[in-house]
Every structure is written in structure tokens, then in C-alpha cells.
Symmetry: D2
Subunit: 451 residues, 4 copies
């Protein structure tokens, strides 16, 4: 179990203090016990993408009645719960324990959270009215259409969907995929990223975000991508062709050429949410591990699995890694609270990389500790599939690592100066003590010429 | 540079707020610039173990005048600076930046700190008068004689030095080694661990700690052990034979059979100090790395070393690991503040394992990034030697890892119960929704017998 | 591409020389191009477990006509192709490039290969007639029923299926799972492991293997286990209940109590086959990586992915690991040729552990290098699922690691003696040169008592 | 103990067969027992760099009388022992077991071996007469002066020592360091790399190698660099200033501008020698580990250290890694035999990277397993220091990794073509079977526009 001494929960806001135990109880006693119901209620065949498990609406109702609603929207938004990012992060960990139910039950699930933040932050009053309100109300869902099939989308300047202005409309043509949530029958709106100004010399000014209603003529949801064999119905990660899709000019978000601004604003806190949910998943599956390795019916070679030294070491290592990751994420959350996402770029990147790797590794270890827990009898394989996407989602590890390193390198000048100053001061001190600046012993080497 | 958003320095005590910048300045402008002076002043030949670099006394004078004295002794001790463990940890990191000078300059160096804690916590008034006062005053130094040459001392129950009561004396016979600080001419006292009751069935009641004055008849300091070729003069890590050494009965600490109690009390915060100094070392050497890889005179293959992607990744990875480790250590420190060392065993162990591995790895990377910075021209090799001892000092990694895992396993019962409860609740929910408890599709397999 | 200088293919047998290029061509031009056909021909719904892709029989016909048939059966068997294990290993790597088709097309796929070896090695003439002949002929398939649902089967002494002798029959009761191949409509026979003598004091004498025809009364194939969401139809990894299944006494293999002997004989070479197929998979997916990272349409940040230093490093690291693993496996194969499986236990274990970890890691890296190649558009996710099972199949990594370490520790006595001898000789030499045996400088330490 | 089934020692040359057991015996019974003598005979103070341990000449005499002399010089040289690189590699491993004595005793120690190869391969008859003969005779030693203090020498084009032609002389000015062997009183000659044509557009044509006699006017051996505190006297790794050093034009090796050619020719096999000696070191220290963890006097927590599961796992992992590395090295050696060093660049690089990392890691583990074996009582710390230099010597890991990756990437075109061909063939096969080329199920998604 995590040790959170450094984050003193008793000093957080009264609202958090009140809601946190309620959420824990809700996850423990309402969400987790209904995971199997949820799985069973997902449609089969034709119904797979046209229906939705009724349990989810029931849980939403309960969560809302408990005040566990839109917790992610922070103090900057009048619509929000008023929690800090740090506080919400602790909430997100708990939701992560039942990752396929709790976040949605609390109207705190991706990609809606990020999209709601976009609408709340950058939306016009009309856009808010039309899309933000029903989203906040849990009536509809949404998708963010960025990743494209034909370009390396980890470099977002490559995104090449064409958004052309024709009269009072934008005409959109592009080929997206991995658009999460687009398969959901309740998904009513897409935020689509594409180029309104492909020839702009500043590659970061070429892109814009436009709002496209689901079902608009020319929107073709081709199929759902599978992840290790799971289609994640009813949400899905869809391939979508936008062919001559027309939307009115007022559907632009923030303004032409400001797509990068929007995605930057959207991603920071969102990444932290993912991270904390990941940590929640880790804690959940570590429970499975502890229970399994101490199960008296599963001894090997005369001992509980927990009595093998390597198992103990694996458990210790896992506890260390999970706790370390949590601090990194909470620190990033806290820094967002203090300096906005822009001032916490390095911390967010670090949290993102660590949490995405961690969740994969921890689940993998728990699978291994069980012997063969990769079947339908355990939630582990499905969780691993979800986890594995996090190492690309919102940018692959490799891109973040380079960014973190480059931010860190910005202080190289300062390091160089400090060292130079130390050298100068050192010489002064050596001289003060009458010591030679260079201290090599005078040894005569045979290979040296005679002096 | 570390991001410490989560630990809000501005909310720490006024005393800390005042001293912290003073310490930083002292380390930066007094200690680091005198490291070469210190090295140059260590004696050679005969003088190596009989003299001490004068610079150190000068720095001590300055530190004391600045209020940077005995900072490690916390609120529980009237003699102390009154800092919390969390606050002192932040101080210890700064001292770690000049690890061979700053801790001693501030009278905060091992093993004295731990020994002073022992005297302060468990010492009789007479013991305090005789040993604690001059130690607190920086007049003498001390050593803790636990590790033995002939037994696996990582399991402290193996310690076999004999402490026999004869009349009004204890007579001590044993063979210790790796006794840090024992070579120092200023070292005036040993705390010696050994068995007063070897036949006690409780192996944790056999050991006691007695005070042995340096130079007592029968104390033979045999030699200084080297660490990767460094003898760490003038302190040294010495092999010592205790042969029929007599000390009066009042030299027992706390009481017979209470040796384990003493070492437990001694080790907790001490381990944290080591950890934070290690992190300070990491930050110092990362500065070297940043400066080196951006040095325009050291390009390879047409680019700055910092422009090679793998270098950037190494820097990012290092930043992540150092920041993670720091949080783990600070959290442990904070938990000690709240629950004493006993309530923070797992956290202390985790911090210890992580920090000891980290410092080795980071220095190693910095050495590698420089090309060949393992010579006398860089402090890195010497620092690595110091760092490498931390993976055994106060118990090897492997022992701590097993302890952490075992503490973590204590909650296995709780995990098992929680999962069982989830299963029961799940069945209820499935039934409530009219769903089968087991959901496998009815498939006919050819190999099945007809039913 | 691998460098196999050490294994001189030109010195292997004429038969190998002839067949090896034929196999390579067959895999390249017949198997790989039909992988999609195979996937498309797997049934859906009701047909999933009752039909079989027609392409496979066509490929079998072709393979047989080319002489690529039963290659795994070595020189010890009159029925076999006469290749050495080393030679077959090289063949198995090539088959691994199309792992879901080529091995079966050549009648070299698990679990049949191991089962055929059992029949060939331990079967009575009648057993051979009835089961080995059609298996060698590719007419039927088979399964090996060892792993059980309710015990930790990685310690095979835990297997608790009851095989009771009643009159002229054995009556079998047990609950197996993960029985690979049992879902296949062509699977006609099970080799079932269970206890005939549960009270035998030698836990390795309790188990026996009996032959159970598929469809025998009391055999209930419950369901197919999924692996990361894949059911591996039509073969499947099935849960099977044996309830009062009766088979005649002559269905025992080798004799009562000799189950361990049979599984030992079965596993050695079979593990090597898995390993080499795994390496074939690695080579196949590394091709995908090389192609992807040099794809000019997928540049990021102005460069080919292959121009990022970390990508280059990943590729180098992968090449190193794959080549290292291959040598380990080929060495184990060669040692089996020379000393039988029993004489190559350590080498087999090492190969097994390394190859199973390797295939997971390599596929994972290739997935990551692609960005998001975990969907149905790439074979990588399915391959990963297959790969991941190898870390438990035939015993989890952890068990093998302990066995390898224990075998290695057997030579500790020899090491100890050698070192003792060195010490004695060293003293002699030191004396011979008039040097002191112990060389510590005579230093006077202040803390030492005066002598 | 290694398993070398794949390399059939009984099929190697009669010369190897004869010498191999003789060498093993010599290392075991002559070299290892004299390691302490050697250490004791190294001078102190003034004598440190002017004398040499007499034991070494005695061992050389014995080795030569046993035929264990100049074994490294292969079949291409009339002067050599006529062993293949593969055969010599096996010899080098054995010498590595006593790395500070055996190689030199057999006149097979770096840097002389590489230098002798240079003279044998590229030297003029006069150069051979003057330098090669006494080197082969073991009368003198030599150094290779490449690495420079002021540039990043891992990119050898950076080497900036100036070699200017003035009349019939070359005049050399440069600042070298880490010149191994230059401190040895027997070192009589330097091969110095520098620029004869700094303005040549082809950076690989600027450098030349010239022969500089030790003690030539203007040669200043400044000091010996230390490695983790060891000065490696009497050989040393020296800093040398060449100031207006004059040598006659005939002292050029191979010709002006051919320096890169010379170092390429020199490095290939030399790297392999280092690798195999490293593996020999690993085997030696693994013996220490096995002996220590089974030492009954060093139990912890009631068990031999060897009975802790994590120790067993460490031993297994070490055995795996050492055996894997050996195969990689032997394969590279064999490939050099078949295709010269130029045809084995990738294999040499792989072997180099793996062996250098391995030796550090293995020694580190053995140190850790002992508890604290980093003092003068064990050879481990000194060995680690030697080992650690191998990660930069002859180019740092990072440079080799990039080269290996780039060589591997050369086959990307082939991979891409193969995959394209598979795709084409696949479409043909799908059509042949009447299957659709794209197989996605026709699902209706709610968010799609009506068609």
C-alpha cells in the first residue's frame, strides 16, 4: 500500500475531504462489483456498436447523486468541482481501480474530459451551449480526431487532414484512425484537427481544430481498431474517413491556426489523469498478486509462492516503483496547480513516461506471478491491452523522453557557469593556502626525454 | 534541476527558511571551492593517519558561526537544531553536493551523527557529559564498531564479539572491520556491538552496545581497508581487533541485551541522511554531465554530444530517476516525523535501496558521458567508490529488498478479503441483472464426449 | 541479419543442405503469403471450432511433396527425417518466420511433435500403430493434458488428476486447462498426466501418463481459454473435465509411476523447437521494424525514424540480443545431440528462459517503433499474445532460473577447492620470493592502544 | 562453467590441441599463484615507475619454454603461432583468468599485441627489424598514442596532434593522454597518431601514424592517470606531451594519410582479445561467488547465501550472460578468420559492447554477493577498475552501438522489398481463394453518416 506521508490529505480542501471517502466507497462497493455486469451487457454481433451497457447509466446516476460528478474540472471553470489538480489526481487514482467503469460513472473519462476542457476553455458561448452542456450533463459523448493513418502522428505537425474554407463553411477531408470513443452510439461530436494553412512557414500555425457533429454527411466510421484482440466496444478506437464534410465557420475552436494551442492546453492535465488512473490500476492488480502468492492452495516446491525470495523481491520492487511513480505524478499535478500546464511541461512528461511504462510492467509481473493469468478468467490481459496503448497515446515514450532531456539541457549553461566559478574559486583557495594549483607528484618516467 | 512542487519549502519552519539559503551558499561558495584544498592537505606517508586537513576546522568555525551546526539533531533533542527530518533531509541534499566536506563542516557527518543520536537518546547523564558534549562541540569524533570480519554481518544476529562481565568490568574480545572513522586521529570513542548473552534464545536479545575509549588497552587498529583503491584517509574504514579490552560496567548503553534496540533507533534517520546526501551527489555530477555534453570543444561526428539522441535520453532518464528517488526519501523522512522510524520501516528501506543504487548508476553514467572520467582529474571515481559502499553499508540491498517485500506482504490478507468481497458482491449484482454468474459461450467441441 | 559464422552450415549433413533452402523458399513463398488466407478461413460463430482452414491441408500436401515432413524426428527414430537437433533447430527458426502456418504445414507443430516423440520413444507397438502412424501421417492431431486448474502446475508434483485402476481399466477424474490443441476438430487423442499412486513417498513416482481418445465418455471440453483476447481457434487452449473416463490398462504409457520420465523425455528437444521458432519470429518482426523506420512517408521531426539515435540503438541492441539467444539455443541443441537432453539440462533451461523473454521484448519494441502496431492491421499483437504464453509454457521463467542456478551451484565445491589451492600455492610462492604472506603497511593509528 | 558444445574443441588444429591444456595448467599453477608476488614486487615511491616485478620475467621464460609465446599472431604472419582467431580466443579467455599476469607472461598483452600486428602487417623491413623483433622477443614494450586530452577522441577524426614534414623529418606536436604502457621502464617505442594533412577534405585521410622512440627529445611523460585510484604501475596510462619531437621520414607507418587504415587493421582482432580476456575474468570471479555463497561460515538468516532464491537467480542470470557473450565473441573471431576484420565489423562491434558491459556487471554482482569485497583483500575492486575502462577503450559503447545499428539498417531495403513481395503474393493468394483482400466486418457505426 502506498505511503503518502508527503501529501497530507488532511490538509487538502474540505470538498476533497468530503468526497474522497465517498469516491473510495463508490469504487469499492459499486464499480468493482459491477465490472462483470458491464462486460456481460456489452452487445454481441450487430448490437456491439449500437447499444450500451445499462449498468453504466445506473452508476452515473448514483455517482451524480453522491456528488462524484465532473470532478476533473478544476477551479478555473465555473462548471467544475473546484478540486485542485493534486486533489483530482488522488481521485483519479481511486477511479483507476475500476478503470473501465468508475471514470465514466463519474463523467470523468477520456476523451470527454479533455474535450470538455477544450470547450470550457476555448469554446464560444454557442459552442458551450451546444456541446459542453450535454457533455457535462453526461448526455452525450465525444471524440478527439487527431491521429492519422498515413503519417507519423507522433509529430503532430505531420497531421495532414485538409480544412478548407469555402464560403461560410469549412470543408474537411482527411483520414484518421485510433479515434477513441467514436464507435459509441452516444458519441455526438468530434473535435477534428487539420490544416487550414498548410503553407504557413511556422509549422505550428498550420493546424486548426473544428467541431464536426457525428453523423454529418461525409463522415465515414470505417471500423474499430483492435488492441491485442480487444475491440473495446462500445467505445472503440475507430478509423474514420472525412470526405468533403462541411461545417459552418463558427465551428472553429479558438481560431484558425491555433490548433497547437488547443492541444497543448488539452493535454497537460489529461496526461496526469491517465497517469493516476494507471497507478490505480497498478494498486488493483498488486492486490491480485498479494492474494495469489499467499494462496495456500497454490504452493510450489513445498512453499507458498510468497516464500520464494524472488517473489518477495518482485513485490518489493513493484511497491517501490509504484510509489515513486505516484510522487512524480502528484508533483506534476501540484505544479500544474501552481504554474499551469505550461510551467510543468517537464514534470508532466516525466510523469507520463514513467506511468505508461509502469502500468505495463506491473501488470506483466502480476500475470507472471499468477502463472498464466492472460485468459478471460482474469481482468489482467484486457488491462494490459489498455495499458499498452498508453505508451503511444498522447505521444510515444520516445518523443517525451527527448523533450524532457531537452528541457533539462536548457540549464546546461547554468551548470557550465557554476563549474567555471567553482574552478576560479578553487584556484583562489589553493593559492590562499599556499598550495600548488596542480598537484601531480613529480615522478620521473623512463620514456620521458631527459630535461 | 529537481522539481519540488509537492514539498512546499515556503511552508516549512522559519528556522529552516532562514538556514536553507545560508547552507546553500556555504556549500557553493565555501565547501566546493575548498575540495581541492582538502585533498591536498591530507597527509602522505607517516602523516596520512596522524594529521587532519586544517581547512576542515576553518570550515567548521564558519559553519558554526552561520548557525549551520548539528542540524541533524531534531526536535526530540534539546541539543538539536530543531529541524524536522523532512527539513533536515533537504539540508542533507545540499551538503551532499560537497559530500567530503560539507557534512563534516556542519558537524553532520556519519558516523558521528548516528552516534550522537545514540548518546542523546539512550545515554546516561555521565555518558552524555563525557562523550556527547565534545561530539556536539565538534571536538572529537567517534566510530560504530559493528561489522565483523569472520561472519556475514548483514544478518546482525551473526555478530559474535564477546562482551563478558568480569567483576565491575566488561571484557571485550572481537574482530571488527569496515569501522568507518576509526583511522581519524580525532576519533576518541567506539560504540562496540557484541554478545553479552550468546545463549539467549531470542537472538535479538543477545547483543549489547558498550562504549570503548579509543586507545584503551587491547584495542588494535590493524589497518585501513581500501575502497576501489582509496583509503579514505584520514577517516578510514578500519580493521580492529579488540583483545581483552576492559571497560567499566557503566559503559553499557541502555542496558544488556538491548543492542538491537539501539541499532534500530540509530539507523532509521541515518539512512535517510545517507540517501539525501546521495541525491546531492547525483545533482552535483549531473551538472558535470550537462556541462560536458554541451562543451563545444568536445563534438563527435559533427555534433555536440548533447545532440545525440541517446545522450538526451540518458539525461532525461537520469532526471526522472533522481526526482523519483528524492520523493521517496523525503516521504520517508516525513513519515519518520509523523510516526517515528519504527512506523516508517518500509519507507526507509525503500529509500535506502533506491538511493544507493541510484547514486552508483548516475555517477557511472556521468563517467561514461565524459568519455573516461575515472581519473584523478575528476572527482567522479572517488565519488563512485564512496557510492558503491552504500549498497552494503547499513545492510546490503538484498536484505532490505526482502524486508520491504515482507512488510508489503503483511497486507496480503486484506487483499485476499477484499477480492473475496468483490466476488461475492459481483455475484449479487449479476443476479440482480438476471445475468449468469459464469458467462462462457456454449460451444460444442469435437473432442468432447456427447452429453 | 544473424551472423552464423560459428555454425558452419556447409559442414552439416547432405540431407540438411538439400532441405534447408527448400524450406526457406517454402516459408517465404508459400507460407507467409497465405497467412491472411489462413486467418480468413478460420470459421466464425458455430464453425469456429468445427472446421479447419483448407489452406493448411494444401500447404501440408506441398510440404510433404518437397520432403519437408516430420523434420523434427531425429536420428534415433526410424520414422524421422534423420536431422540432428542442431540441424532441425535451424529449420525450426525458418518455420518460426511463419509461425502459425509453417510448423503445421511441415507436420512439425506443437504439441504433436512432443506427443509423437512420446509415442515413438515410449509407445507399445499397438500404441504406435494406433496413434503414432496417423500423427506422422498428418491425419490426426493430439493434445497433452498436464496443467490443472486448481493447483500450481509449475511444480508438476502438484498435478492431482486421479487415475485409478478398476479391473482392466483406468478410471480418470481431473480438471485440466490450457490444453493446447484440444479444440481442434482433428484432435483425436490426449496424453493425460495424473496420479496412479498418490501415496508414493517419492513424489516423482506418483504420476503416470495414460492415453485417452478424444470423445471418450466423460471427456468434457468446457471452453477455450483466451490469450490477450485471442482464442487461437481452431486449435484452442481448452479447459477439460475428465469425469470417470475409462480407458483400458494397455493405454498406460511406459508404465505406472513413470510420468515424470515421460515428460522429461518429451520436454527437452521440444523446448528447443519453441526457442528456435521464437527466434524466427524475432527475425520476421525485425524485418518489419527495419522497413518501418526507414519508410520515407513516416518521418518525424524532419527525420526518418531510423535517423533518431535511440532508434539506431534499439536496433543494435535487438540484433545483439537475438544473435546471443540463437547461439544459446543452437548450443543447447548441439549438446542434446551429443549428450541427450539429460546431459543438456542447464543449456536447455538457459535457452528456454532467454528465448521466451526475448520474443516478448523484441515484438514489444517493434510494436513501439511502429507507433501503434497493436491492431488487426499488423500481425504483431497476435504474435505477442503467442509469445507471452512462452514465459509460462513448459514451466515459468522463474522455475527454470532456479534450476539453472542450482545446476551451476553444483560446481561450487570445485570452485572452493580451486581457490583454496590457489591460496596455498600463493603462500608458497610468496615465501619462495622472501615476501611476507600478509602485506599490510605498518601504520600507527591514533585509536590503537600503545603496544 | 561454460558449455561450449557448439565449438568443438576436438576439431581445432593439432597445435591448439597441444597448447590449450598446457596454457590452462600454466595459468592455474603458475600465474594465479603468483598474482600476490607480482603485486608485492611492484615498486613503491621512486621505484614505482622505474622497476618491474621480477616474477614477470620468470613467468615469461617459463611460458616461452612451454611454447606459450606470441600466440596472438595468426596464420597471416610468419612470426606467429599459427592459431586461428577462434583458437586464440579460447586461449585468451584462459589468460584472462589471470589478467594481470598471464597475457604478459605469454607476450600476448595489450597494447603490444596490436602494435606488433601493426609492425608485422604494415612495417617496412627496417621497422620490423628495429621494433618488431625485440617486441616479439619480449625484450621491449610499446605504446599506442592516439587519445588526446583536448578533443573528444571517441571520434578519431578529432585527433589533432600535428605531424609536420620539415626536411627529412616529421616534427610532432600534440597532447595525448591515457597512453597505456607508457609508464613502463621497458616501453621503448610509441606509435603516434596525428594529422599530416589537416586540410584534406576526406577527414579519414588526414591522419598518419609515426614511430617515436621513447626518450626522444621533446617527449614528456607528464604523469600516470589513475583509474578508480589505481595507477596501474608499472605500466600506467600516461599523459604525454610531444613538443617539437623530430623523427626521420622513414618512421611513417604505411604512408601519409593512412592512419585510419592502420587503426582499423589494428583494432579488429585486438578487440576480440580484450573480449575473451574479459570473459576469462568473469569466469574467475564467478568462481569466487560460488565459493563465497556456499561458505558455511557466512550464513544469513539461517541459510547459506546460496539458499536465498535471489542469489540462485543472480547466479543463473550470470551464467546465461557469460555464455551468451562468449558465443558472440567466438563467432566474431571465427568470422574474422573467414572474412577478415573488415567483413566482421558488426560482429566485432557487438562482441565489444557486450563483453565490456558484461565484465563490469559480473564483477559488480560478485562484489555485492560477498558483502563488501571492494577492499585490498579481494582482487575484485582492482579488476573492476580495469573492467570499467573497457567501456571506453577502443571507442565507447555508445559509438559502437550506433555503428552496429547502422550496419543493421543497411538491410532495411531488402526487408522492405521482401515485405512488399509478401503483400503482393498475399493478394494473389486471397484472390485465388475467392477471399476479399480487406476483411473488415461490415458494421454500422452510429457516428457514421448515412450512406
Amino acid at each position: 500500500m502506498a505511503s503518502l506521508s508527503l501529501v497530507d490529505i488532511s490538509k487538502l480542501s474540505p470538498k476533497f475531504q468530503k468526497l474522497y471517502p465517498i469516491l473510495k466507497d463508490f469504487v469499492e462497493n459499486d464499480c468493482i462489483p459491477n465490472e462483470e455486469v458491464f462486460e456481460a451487457q456489452i452487445g454481441t454481433g450487430e448490437d456491439r456498436w449500437s447499444s450500451y451497457p445499462p449498468i453504466i447509466e445506473e452508476l452515473k446516476k448514483k455517482a451524480r447523486s453522491l456528488g462524484l460528478w465532473n470532478l476533473f474540472l478544476g477551479r478555473d471553470y465555473s462548471e467544475g468541482a473546484g478540486l485542485t489538480n493534486l486533489e483530482y489526481s488522488l481521485m483519479a487514482e481511486e477511479m483507476g481501480r475500476s478503470i473501465h467503469l468508475a471514470p465514466e460513472a463519474c463523467n470523468c473519462s477520456a476523451p470527454d474530459t479533455g474535450n470538455m476542457e477544450v470547450f470550457a476553455k476555448y469554446g464560444s458561448p454557442a459552442q458551450k451551449k451546444k456541446w459542453l452542456e450535454p457533455l457535462l450533463d453526461g448526455k452525450i459523448r465525444s471524440a478527439f480526431a487527431m491521429t492519422e493513418k498515413n503519417v507519423a502522428s507522433s509529430d503532430a505537425t505531420n497531421i495532414e487532414t485538409n480544412i478548407r474554407r469555402v464560403g461560410n463553411d469549412y470543408v474537411i477531408n482527411g483520414h484518421k484512425w485510433w479515434i477513441s470513443g467514436a464507435g459509441d452510439p452516444r458519441c455526438k461530436v468530434f473535435l477534428v484537427m487539420g490544416k487550414t494553412d498548410a503553407s504557413n512557414k511556422d509549422a505550428h500555425k498550420q493546424q486548426s481544430i473544428v467541431i464536426v457533429p457525428a453523423g454529418a454527411p461525409g463522415v465515414h466510421v470505417v471500423r474499430a481498431m483492435t488492441v491485442f484482440g480487444y475491440d473495446d466496444a462500445p467505445e472503440g478506437h475507430c478509423e474514420i474517413i472525412f470526405k468533403d464534410v462541411k461545417v459552418p465557420l463558427e465551428n472553429i475552436v479558438l481560431g484558425e491556426g491555433r490548433g497547437f494551442e488547443v492541444i497543448q492546453g488539452r493535454l497537460g492535465p489529461g496526461r496526469i489523469h491517465h497517469c493516476m488512473r494507471s497507478i490505480g490500476v497498478c494498486e488493483r492488480v498488486l492486490d491480485f498478486m498479494l492474494a495469489r502468492v499467499t494462496d495456500p492452495s497454490r504452493k510450489t516446491f513445498g512453499r507458498l509462492i510468497a516464500q520464494h525470495g524472488t517473489t518477495v523481491a518482485t513485490i518489493a520492487q513493484s511497491r517501490i516503483e509504484v510509489d515513486q511513480a505516484r510522487f512524480l505524478v502528484l508533483n506534476a499535478a501540484d505544479k500544474i496547480d501552481k504554474f499551469k500546464a505550461k510551467g510543468a511541461m517537464k514534470e508532466i512528461g516525466m510523469a507520463k513516461v514513467v506511468a505508461a511504462r509502469l502500468i505495463c510492467q506491473i501488470i506483466d509481473r502480476v500475470i507472471q506471478a499468477h502463472g498464466a493469468a492472460i485468459s478471460q478468467d482474469f481482468p489482467l490481459a484486457r488491462l494490459y491491452a489498455t495499458a499498452r496503448t498508453l505508451r503511444f497515446a498522447d505521444g510515444p515514450d520516445e518523443v517525451h523522453i527527448q523533450q524532457i532531456g531537452k528541457i533539462e539541457l536548457r540549464r546546461a549553461g547554468e551548470s557550465t557557469e557554476r563549474i567555471a566559478k567553482h574552478k576560479r574559486r578553487q584556484e583562489e583557495e589553493l593559492k590562499k593556502w599556499g598550495l600548488p594549483v596542480s598537484r601531480e607528484p613529480k615522478v620521473k618516467f623512463a620514456a620521458s626525454a631527459k630535461l
